[in-house]
Amino acid sequence: MSTNDQVHDGGHADVTHHVPGEHHDHDHHEHGPAAGYWRWITTTNHKDIGSLYLWFALVMFFIGGGMALVIRAELFQPGIQIVDPMFFNSMTTMHALVMIFGVVMPAFVGLANWMIPMMIGAPDMALPRLNNWSFWIMPFAFLILLSTLFMDSGGPAGGWTLYPPLSLQMGDSFAFVIFAIHFMGISSVMGSINIVATIFNMRAPGVTFMKMPMFVWTWLITAFLLIATIPVLAGAVTMLLTDRFFETSFFSAAGGGDPVMFQHIFWFFGHPEVYILILPAFGIISSIIPTFARKPLFGYDSMVYATASIAFLSFIVWAHHMFTTGMPLAGSLFFMMTTMMISVPTGVKVFNWVATMWKGAMTFETPMLFSIGFVIMFTIGGLSGLMLAITPADIQYHDTYFVVAHFHYVLVPGAIYSIMAATYYWLPKWTGNMYDETLGKWHFWISTVFVNVLFFPMHFVGLAGMNRRIPDYSLQFADWNMVATIGAFGFGFSQLLFVWIVLKAVRGGKKATAEVWEGARGLEWTVPSPAPYHTFETAPDITKFAVR
């Protein structure tokens, strides 16, 4: 099927815009992108900006991954062989900041940029210039952040949570860290406002809220979470800044402040943040599994309500990160109960995915493999999360490798796998070429083996008493740490295969059809592959196509 008819049927009020034609190659059209690097700097096109975000995330993935390999190399054996403990702490801190703010979030924003307008039948994002700006702030923010590693006082080494008073012991480069976080925050908030504005205003006639694909829904809710919580983070780090440089005492007990208050403020941002890192993943998986099961998503309505419930609950569970700080008993009980409740809507999602697979006619192309890997390994991370909700047990798990194992299971074979799945799923739409399926499957299997070799043993050493954020450990943890390090290097280097597969598909390969996947539903599959520079300049007639 093709949208060409429908596009030609519509009148064009704005004739200066490019009209998607029969030809996939549109070089001879005069309204394509500007030539050369200037195109990427000045672009306001949602597809260009989406690509920029995705390439940026890929580069940062290797920088953050390199830091993880420094950590794992030091932990290969007991004793300190490679880096000073202070630099080790910088690595754990930077690894987290880069992976969260530089990889997962920009990658999701990139996917949102590419897919949301096409999924709702909009010509572009609602605020295209803001879109350009929100991307271009990011590289500078990260340049500033990473440059602190080369300053005299070194990079931030107090953990990504920046708990005072420890974070206030940092030298003058601390100001650069705060500045960088502010800019990342501004970028995220602008991106989110744009996504909300697009979804509210740019849906094609007939695309009602309950017809939107799950990816659009999850991003809408994520965007609200971002708009609500990033200013809270901004406030918290600004108070750190004034405590460090302007002699205030927000968090210093000696001056009448309260170091625990920072943790409350931080996690009021931080807990919704972890859902920011996973809700768009839920949307991606909810798009891919129905395609390859050739069966509609089970329980769409309950998926939407579950996502909204998770978002709501995410605001009232924050202190479960703080069970050892000495809360009143009533506080501990409240946060234990609310945290346990989160597993209900999350469980609904997992059950819905399994029910979608049930009695389908499945094939296992690379996007489906990554999605199934996501469901299984995210569930493992979710179950250890349920264990962590049990406060008396959590007090023992807290700040051990058990927690490290938990959040890496939900973030690596969770969030990162969903991004991989999305890339394989939509790459033919973006490039017009099929990726190499054999290599894609290799990428999945090698990654999956190594990611488990890397993170599974961390459960054991954590339960047995290995605390986190340490550069050296007791000898009884040596074997499992060695195994984890082997897994880390295996997983890290196998991602080079991913880069190769993507580059190969960008350069050429078997031509993709408009529909690409046999069971695919949604407006993005009604436009040709590669998607023309401008799509849906006139709204699609959704009576002819399934929106989800």
């Binding site: 300190i80 769409y300 000495g326 296992f364 008396p392 007090i395 700040d399 050296d472 007791s474 009884q476």
Partner: protein, 399 residues
Amino acid sequence: MRSTTVKRSAVALLAGLIALPLGAWADWGALNMPVGVSELSADVHALHMRIFYICCAIGAGVFGVMIVSMVLHRKSRGVTPSTFHESTKVEIVWTVVPLLILIAMAVPAARVLIEMEDFSDSEMSIKVTGYQWRWHYDYLDENVAFYSALDADQNLARQLGNDNDLERFGESYLREVDNELVVPINTKIRFLNTAADVIHSWWVPDLALKKDAIPGFINENWAEIEQPGIYRGKCAELCGRDHGFMPIVVRAVEKEEYAAWLEEMRAEQVAAADTALDERSHESLLASGESVYGTSCVGCHQKEGQGIPGMFPAIAGSAIANGDVDTHIATVAHGVDGTNMSAFSSILTDAEIAAVVTYQRNAFGNETGDSVQPAAVAAVRSSASAADATVFDSEGVLR
């Protein structure tokens, strides 16, 4: 054809990698949370195992259905996909059943939590203060207090690039201290946690105790140990460079033995106070100075006093260690503001500061020949406040 090759290779790789860690399974005890040695720790362990088995059951159910589906419902078997996409009945079931499981789990968890927070009827109290990077224990109302830091031998061995044979420490590597916390068994002990600089967390797994030590706050915790023995723990909250190197060792003994130990400690501390400011020989200062250097200085200033360029200044050949004695004492005692150099006046005694300053002035190629006496330290300590430290910049150079 090609995908079969992929599958076969993947299976071979998987088998190889599963075989790889088999060697690590020699010690199953190191894989799970310890049951511990108090009623509370056993309760926590039981909760942990219960929720673990529930999770295993849920996982087995979900993954089981997925696997069956992946085997049966594949296109290659020529199945036609169903079109069902909702079932109110099923959806209510899988919302309500997890809720019931959660309630079944929340009730015992709340019971244990309430027990944990019950500090009534405690028979003795120990104040635990976290410092960067050691613990201070104060037996309230007993006149016994001391610091406890990583064993000096291990502290040397763990320095960057010290290619030491760590095996000789066995399982106690990084878990041995100079002064153990001695406590009686079958006594409800209340621990009061606080900190002097940044947030630490006092964690002993066998006692199921972990509570943050926060500057300006006092957190409570309690334990009633049932068996004599040595129980090891660590600081659990990132507290800076040497966070990984502030272990905790609790030695639980019979009540009589504890009383005797307390007597002995009290006598020792009184004797130490009496002789604190006595004149000491150059050799004895050097000898104890070397051991103080090993626990308190070596982490940053390194084994040969060379420091780490750009991070920690060298002591070898430094202006302070070869210059005015009082300036040197003040630097150690009051620290340097805005840097990682802590104030040691509350951590080290006058005699210890005297010894370590003497050592620094006569080691690493520094040849001042000075003997710094405890009385000189006491004089600097009383005459100067931390304000002195601010006359140094971050390199430790006099402004």
